[in-house]
Symmetry: C2
Subunit: 149 residues, 2 copies
DNA sequence: GGTCAACTGTTACAGAGGTTAACAATATTT
DNA sequence: AAATATTGTTAACCTCTGTAACAGTTGACC
Protein backbone atom coordinates (compact mmCIF):
# COMPACT_ATOMS: atom_id res chain seq x y z
CA UNK A 1 0.00 0.00 0.00
CA UNK A 2 3.00 2.26 0.39
CA UNK A 3 4.40 2.30 -3.14
CA UNK A 4 3.74 -0.13 -5.92
CA UNK A 5 7.21 -0.84 -7.24
CA UNK A 6 6.98 -1.63 -10.92
CA UNK A 7 10.68 -1.93 -11.28
CA UNK A 8 13.95 -1.65 -9.43
CA UNK A 9 14.22 1.71 -11.16
CA UNK A 10 11.51 3.05 -8.87
CA UNK A 11 13.72 2.41 -5.86
CA UNK A 12 16.59 4.47 -7.23
CA UNK A 13 17.01 8.04 -6.06
CA UNK A 14 18.67 8.97 -9.35
CA UNK A 15 15.81 7.68 -11.46
CA UNK A 16 13.15 9.33 -9.32
CA UNK A 17 15.13 12.53 -9.47
CA UNK A 18 15.15 12.37 -13.23
CA UNK A 19 11.45 11.68 -13.58
CA UNK A 20 10.46 14.36 -11.08
CA UNK A 21 12.77 16.81 -12.79
CA UNK A 22 11.20 16.02 -16.16
CA UNK A 23 7.79 16.84 -14.72
CA UNK A 24 8.93 20.07 -13.11
CA UNK A 25 10.88 21.18 -16.16
CA UNK A 26 7.98 20.70 -18.54
CA UNK A 27 5.71 22.66 -16.20
CA UNK A 28 8.25 25.46 -15.95
CA UNK A 29 8.83 25.52 -19.69
CA UNK A 30 5.12 25.78 -20.31
CA UNK A 31 4.46 28.58 -17.82
CA UNK A 32 7.53 30.56 -18.88
CA UNK A 33 6.59 30.23 -22.55
CA UNK A 34 3.79 32.74 -22.00
CA UNK A 35 6.38 35.30 -20.99
CA UNK A 36 8.62 34.25 -23.86
CA UNK A 37 11.41 32.90 -21.68
CA UNK A 38 13.17 29.55 -21.83
CA UNK A 39 14.07 28.02 -18.45
CA UNK A 40 17.71 28.73 -19.11
CA UNK A 41 16.98 32.32 -19.96
CA UNK A 42 14.95 32.75 -16.81
CA UNK A 43 17.70 31.55 -14.48
CA UNK A 44 20.29 33.74 -16.20
CA UNK A 45 17.99 36.76 -16.10
CA UNK A 46 17.18 36.11 -12.45
CA UNK A 47 20.82 36.29 -11.44
CA UNK A 48 21.42 39.32 -13.64
CA UNK A 49 18.56 41.09 -11.88
CA UNK A 50 19.66 40.05 -8.41
CA UNK A 51 23.36 40.72 -8.93
CA UNK A 52 23.76 43.86 -11.02
CA UNK A 53 26.96 44.17 -13.01
CA UNK A 54 27.56 40.44 -12.80
CA UNK A 55 29.99 39.03 -15.34
CA UNK A 56 29.21 36.18 -17.71
CA UNK A 57 31.91 34.04 -16.17
CA UNK A 58 30.72 34.43 -12.62
CA UNK A 59 27.14 34.00 -13.80
CA UNK A 60 28.15 30.71 -15.37
CA UNK A 61 29.82 29.70 -12.12
CA UNK A 62 26.65 30.47 -10.18
CA UNK A 63 24.56 28.44 -12.59
CA UNK A 64 27.00 25.54 -12.64
CA UNK A 65 27.45 25.80 -16.38
CA UNK A 66 30.33 26.39 -18.78
CA UNK A 67 30.61 30.02 -19.77
CA UNK A 68 30.55 29.10 -23.44
CA UNK A 69 27.09 27.68 -22.98
CA UNK A 70 25.83 31.00 -21.75
CA UNK A 71 26.71 33.17 -24.73
CA UNK A 72 23.66 32.38 -26.84
CA UNK A 73 21.39 32.76 -23.81
CA UNK A 74 22.73 36.23 -23.06
CA UNK A 75 22.49 37.03 -26.76
CA UNK A 76 18.79 36.17 -26.70
CA UNK A 77 18.15 38.20 -23.57
CA UNK A 78 20.01 41.17 -25.00
CA UNK A 79 18.20 40.96 -28.33
CA UNK A 80 14.91 41.11 -26.46
CA UNK A 81 16.24 44.13 -24.57
CA UNK A 82 15.89 42.41 -21.19
CA UNK A 83 19.49 43.15 -20.31
CA UNK A 84 22.59 44.85 -21.71
CA UNK A 85 26.26 44.04 -21.88
CA UNK A 86 28.09 47.17 -20.83
CA UNK A 87 31.81 47.81 -20.92
CA UNK A 88 33.67 47.96 -17.63
CA UNK A 89 36.18 50.82 -17.31
CA UNK A 90 38.85 48.96 -15.36
CA UNK A 91 38.95 45.73 -17.37
CA UNK A 92 38.42 45.53 -21.08
CA UNK A 93 37.95 41.74 -21.10
CA UNK A 94 34.72 41.68 -19.16
CA UNK A 95 31.27 43.07 -19.83
CA UNK A 96 28.93 43.74 -16.95
CA UNK A 97 25.39 42.51 -17.35
CA UNK A 98 22.67 44.91 -16.26
CA UNK A 99 19.02 44.11 -16.54
CA UNK A 100 16.81 46.72 -18.18
CA UNK A 101 13.53 47.89 -16.71
CA UNK A 102 11.84 45.57 -19.18
CA UNK A 103 14.06 42.75 -17.97
CA UNK A 104 13.21 43.42 -14.34
CA UNK A 105 9.52 43.43 -15.19
CA UNK A 106 9.80 40.16 -17.10
CA UNK A 107 11.70 38.69 -14.19
CA UNK A 108 8.96 39.69 -11.75
CA UNK A 109 6.32 38.25 -14.01
CA UNK A 110 8.29 35.02 -14.34
CA UNK A 111 8.72 34.78 -10.57
CA UNK A 112 4.95 34.91 -10.12
CA UNK A 113 4.36 32.31 -12.81
CA UNK A 114 6.93 29.97 -11.29
CA UNK A 115 5.53 30.40 -7.82
CA UNK A 116 2.19 29.17 -9.12
CA UNK A 117 3.92 26.31 -10.84
CA UNK A 118 5.71 25.35 -7.65
CA UNK A 119 2.40 25.23 -5.82
CA UNK A 120 1.03 23.03 -8.56
CA UNK A 121 4.05 20.73 -8.44
CA UNK A 122 3.95 20.33 -4.68
CA UNK A 123 0.21 20.43 -4.10
CA UNK A 124 0.26 16.78 -3.09
CA UNK A 125 2.91 17.43 -0.42
CA UNK A 126 2.59 18.79 3.10
CA UNK A 127 4.43 21.96 4.11
CA UNK A 128 6.98 19.95 6.06
CA UNK A 129 7.49 17.61 3.10
CA UNK A 130 8.16 20.58 0.84
CA UNK A 131 10.67 22.08 3.26
CA UNK A 132 12.30 18.71 3.76
CA UNK A 133 12.56 18.14 0.02
CA UNK A 134 14.15 21.52 -0.56
CA UNK A 135 16.55 21.06 2.35
CA UNK A 136 17.64 17.60 1.23
CA UNK A 137 18.18 18.69 -2.37
CA UNK A 138 20.23 21.64 -1.18
CA UNK A 139 22.25 19.30 1.03
CA UNK A 140 23.11 17.14 -1.97
CA UNK A 141 23.96 20.20 -4.03
CA UNK A 142 26.16 21.78 -1.42
CA UNK A 143 28.05 18.58 -0.84
CA UNK A 144 28.66 17.73 -4.50
CA UNK A 145 29.04 21.23 -5.87
CA UNK A 146 31.31 22.15 -2.99
CA UNK A 147 33.95 19.68 -4.13
CA UNK A 148 35.33 21.93 -6.86
CA UNK A 149 33.35 25.18 -6.88
CA UNK B 1 23.32 28.96 9.40
CA UNK B 2 20.73 26.78 7.75
CA UNK B 3 21.25 27.54 4.09
CA UNK B 4 23.05 30.48 2.54
CA UNK B 5 20.65 31.62 -0.15
CA UNK B 6 22.63 33.15 -2.97
CA UNK B 7 19.58 33.72 -5.06
CA UNK B 8 15.85 33.24 -5.14
CA UNK B 9 16.63 30.31 -7.42
CA UNK B 10 17.93 28.40 -4.42
CA UNK B 11 14.52 28.57 -2.81
CA UNK B 12 12.80 26.97 -5.79
CA UNK B 13 12.05 23.26 -5.72
CA UNK B 14 12.27 23.10 -9.50
CA UNK B 15 15.71 24.63 -9.66
CA UNK B 16 17.08 22.45 -6.86
CA UNK B 17 15.58 19.46 -8.60
CA UNK B 18 17.39 20.36 -11.79
CA UNK B 19 20.75 20.93 -10.13
CA UNK B 20 20.54 17.74 -8.06
CA UNK B 21 19.50 15.80 -11.13
CA UNK B 22 22.46 17.16 -13.07
CA UNK B 23 24.77 15.92 -10.34
CA UNK B 24 23.16 12.48 -10.19
CA UNK B 25 23.02 12.11 -13.95
CA UNK B 26 26.67 12.90 -14.45
CA UNK B 27 27.62 10.40 -11.74
CA UNK B 28 25.44 7.75 -13.32
CA UNK B 29 26.75 8.47 -16.79
CA UNK B 30 30.31 8.15 -15.58
CA UNK B 31 29.82 4.90 -13.69
CA UNK B 32 27.77 3.31 -16.48
CA UNK B 33 30.37 4.31 -19.07
CA UNK B 34 32.68 1.60 -17.74
CA UNK B 35 30.06 -0.97 -18.66
CA UNK B 36 29.46 0.74 -21.98
CA UNK B 37 25.90 1.76 -21.22
CA UNK B 38 24.25 5.16 -21.54
CA UNK B 39 21.72 6.04 -18.82
CA UNK B 40 18.92 5.67 -21.31
CA UNK B 41 20.16 2.27 -22.38
CA UNK B 42 20.41 1.12 -18.79
CA UNK B 43 16.82 1.98 -17.94
CA UNK B 44 15.53 0.31 -21.08
CA UNK B 45 17.64 -2.78 -20.48
CA UNK B 46 16.52 -2.91 -16.85
CA UNK B 47 12.86 -3.12 -17.82
CA UNK B 48 13.58 -5.60 -20.59
CA UNK B 49 15.30 -7.83 -18.05
CA UNK B 50 12.58 -7.46 -15.43
CA UNK B 51 9.66 -7.80 -17.82
CA UNK B 52 10.51 -10.44 -20.43
CA UNK B 53 8.70 -10.17 -23.75
CA UNK B 54 7.88 -6.54 -23.11
CA UNK B 55 6.94 -4.51 -26.17
CA UNK B 56 8.63 -1.30 -27.23
CA UNK B 57 5.41 0.64 -26.82
CA UNK B 58 4.73 -0.54 -23.30
CA UNK B 59 8.38 -0.07 -22.46
CA UNK B 60 8.10 3.53 -23.63
CA UNK B 61 5.00 3.96 -21.50
CA UNK B 62 6.85 2.63 -18.44
CA UNK B 63 9.73 5.01 -19.05
CA UNK B 64 7.49 7.96 -19.72
CA UNK B 65 8.96 8.48 -23.16
CA UNK B 66 7.68 8.56 -26.73
CA UNK B 67 8.11 5.23 -28.44
CA UNK B 68 9.93 6.84 -31.34
CA UNK B 69 12.62 7.94 -28.94
CA UNK B 70 13.28 4.37 -27.95
CA UNK B 71 14.09 2.93 -31.36
CA UNK B 72 17.74 3.95 -31.49
CA UNK B 73 18.24 2.85 -27.89
CA UNK B 74 16.89 -0.62 -28.60
CA UNK B 75 18.96 -0.68 -31.79
CA UNK B 76 22.10 -0.03 -29.74
CA UNK B 77 21.23 -2.68 -27.19
CA UNK B 78 20.47 -5.19 -29.91
CA UNK B 79 23.67 -4.43 -31.81
CA UNK B 80 25.62 -5.12 -28.66
CA UNK B 81 23.68 -8.39 -28.29
CA UNK B 82 22.24 -7.39 -24.91
CA UNK B 83 18.72 -8.11 -26.06
CA UNK B 84 16.79 -9.33 -29.10
CA UNK B 85 13.64 -8.30 -30.89
CA UNK B 86 11.69 -11.48 -31.53
CA UNK B 87 8.54 -11.89 -33.56
CA UNK B 88 5.32 -12.62 -31.71
CA UNK B 89 3.11 -15.34 -33.27
CA UNK B 90 -0.27 -13.78 -32.58
CA UNK B 91 0.48 -10.21 -33.64
CA UNK B 92 2.74 -9.28 -36.52
CA UNK B 93 2.98 -5.61 -35.50
CA UNK B 94 4.82 -6.10 -32.26
CA UNK B 95 8.21 -7.52 -31.43
CA UNK B 96 8.88 -8.87 -27.97
CA UNK B 97 12.10 -7.77 -26.32
CA UNK B 98 14.05 -10.47 -24.55
CA UNK B 99 17.33 -9.83 -22.83
CA UNK B 100 20.20 -12.16 -23.67
CA UNK B 101 22.41 -13.78 -21.04
CA UNK B 102 24.96 -11.12 -21.85
CA UNK B 103 22.30 -8.48 -21.34
CA UNK B 104 21.29 -9.90 -17.99
CA UNK B 105 24.92 -9.93 -16.91
CA UNK B 106 25.43 -6.33 -18.00
CA UNK B 107 22.28 -5.38 -16.17
CA UNK B 108 23.53 -6.98 -12.96
CA UNK B 109 26.85 -5.26 -13.29
CA UNK B 110 25.13 -1.93 -13.89
CA UNK B 111 22.90 -2.43 -10.86
CA UNK B 112 25.97 -2.84 -8.66
CA UNK B 113 27.65 0.22 -10.13
CA UNK B 114 24.54 2.33 -9.64
CA UNK B 115 24.09 1.14 -6.09
CA UNK B 116 27.57 2.41 -5.31
CA UNK B 117 26.75 5.67 -7.06
CA UNK B 118 23.58 6.06 -5.02
CA UNK B 119 25.55 5.63 -1.83
CA UNK B 120 27.97 8.26 -3.04
CA UNK B 121 25.17 10.66 -3.95
CA UNK B 122 23.39 10.27 -0.63
CA UNK B 123 26.39 9.86 1.67
CA UNK B 124 25.64 13.23 3.23
CA UNK B 125 22.08 12.20 4.09
CA UNK B 126 20.70 10.14 6.95
CA UNK B 127 18.78 6.95 6.28
CA UNK B 128 15.50 8.64 7.08
CA UNK B 129 16.36 11.55 4.79
CA UNK B 130 17.05 9.14 1.94
CA UNK B 131 13.77 7.32 2.47
CA UNK B 132 11.91 10.60 2.75
CA UNK B 133 13.48 11.94 -0.43
CA UNK B 134 12.57 8.82 -2.38
CA UNK B 135 9.04 8.82 -0.98
CA UNK B 136 8.44 12.48 -1.77
CA UNK B 137 9.80 12.16 -5.30
CA UNK B 138 7.57 9.14 -5.88
CA UNK B 139 4.62 11.09 -4.53
CA UNK B 140 5.22 13.85 -7.06
CA UNK B 141 5.64 11.32 -9.84
CA UNK B 142 2.53 9.37 -9.01
CA UNK B 143 0.43 12.49 -8.80
CA UNK B 144 1.63 14.07 -12.02
CA UNK B 145 2.15 10.95 -14.09
CA UNK B 146 -1.18 9.59 -12.93
CA UNK B 147 -3.06 12.38 -14.69
CA UNK B 148 -2.81 10.81 -18.15
CA UNK B 149 -0.94 7.51 -17.89
C1' DG C 1 -17.47 -9.15 -44.58
C1' DG C 2 -15.98 -4.85 -45.44
C1' DT C 3 -14.82 -0.42 -43.69
C1' DC C 4 -12.91 2.54 -40.47
C1' DA C 5 -10.39 3.29 -36.44
C1' DA C 6 -6.51 2.20 -33.61
C1' DC C 7 -2.03 0.46 -32.64
C1' DT C 8 3.13 -0.82 -33.68
C1' DG C 9 7.53 0.09 -35.08
C1' DT C 10 10.10 3.13 -37.74
C1' DT C 11 12.11 7.27 -40.00
C1' DA C 12 13.18 12.12 -40.55
C1' DC C 13 13.49 16.38 -38.50
C1' DA C 14 13.80 19.72 -34.99
C1' DG C 15 15.19 21.81 -30.67
C1' DA C 16 16.96 22.40 -25.93
C1' DG C 17 20.71 21.80 -22.91
C1' DG C 18 25.22 20.83 -22.30
C1' DT C 19 30.42 19.93 -23.18
C1' DT C 20 35.09 20.45 -25.17
C1' DA C 21 38.63 22.75 -27.76
C1' DA C 22 40.40 26.45 -29.77
C1' DC C 23 41.11 31.69 -30.35
C1' DA C 24 42.16 36.67 -29.82
C1' DA C 25 42.22 40.26 -26.66
C1' DT C 26 43.34 41.67 -22.33
C1' DA C 27 45.18 41.37 -17.27
C1' DT C 28 48.11 39.52 -13.93
C1' DT C 29 52.01 37.40 -12.09
C1' DT C 30 56.81 36.57 -11.90
C1' DA D 1 59.74 41.61 -20.37
C1' DA D 2 57.91 37.26 -20.49
C1' DA D 3 55.07 33.72 -19.09
C1' DT D 4 50.54 32.70 -17.30
C1' DA D 5 45.64 33.33 -16.55
C1' DT D 6 41.09 35.12 -17.60
C1' DT D 7 37.14 36.70 -20.57
C1' DG D 8 34.06 36.35 -24.11
C1' DT D 9 33.31 33.99 -28.21
C1' DT D 10 32.85 30.51 -31.97
C1' DA D 11 32.50 25.89 -33.85
C1' DA D 12 31.68 21.18 -33.58
C1' DC D 13 29.55 17.62 -31.22
C1' DC D 14 26.61 14.74 -28.00
C1' DT D 15 22.36 13.26 -25.52
C1' DC D 16 17.67 13.36 -24.57
C1' DT D 17 13.27 14.57 -26.17
C1' DG D 18 9.25 15.66 -28.91
C1' DT D 19 6.46 15.99 -33.40
C1' DA D 20 4.81 14.41 -37.70
C1' DA D 21 4.40 11.26 -40.97
C1' DC D 22 4.46 6.31 -42.90
C1' DA D 23 3.22 1.42 -43.95
C1' DG D 24 1.79 -2.79 -42.02
C1' DT D 25 -1.30 -4.90 -39.13
C1' DT D 26 -5.14 -5.74 -35.97
C1' DG D 27 -9.64 -4.90 -33.86
C1' DA D 28 -14.27 -2.95 -33.74
C1' DC D 29 -18.54 -2.05 -35.73
C1' DC D 30 -22.33 -2.34 -38.58
Amino acid sequence: MTAEQNSALDAMIGYNLKRANTIAESQIRRCLANIGLAPREFSALALAVEIPNITQSTLARHLGVERSGLVSTIDALEQRALLNRVAVPGDRRIQALIATAKGIAAHQEALCAIQMQEEQLTQVLSATEIDSLRAVLQKIRKFEEGKTP
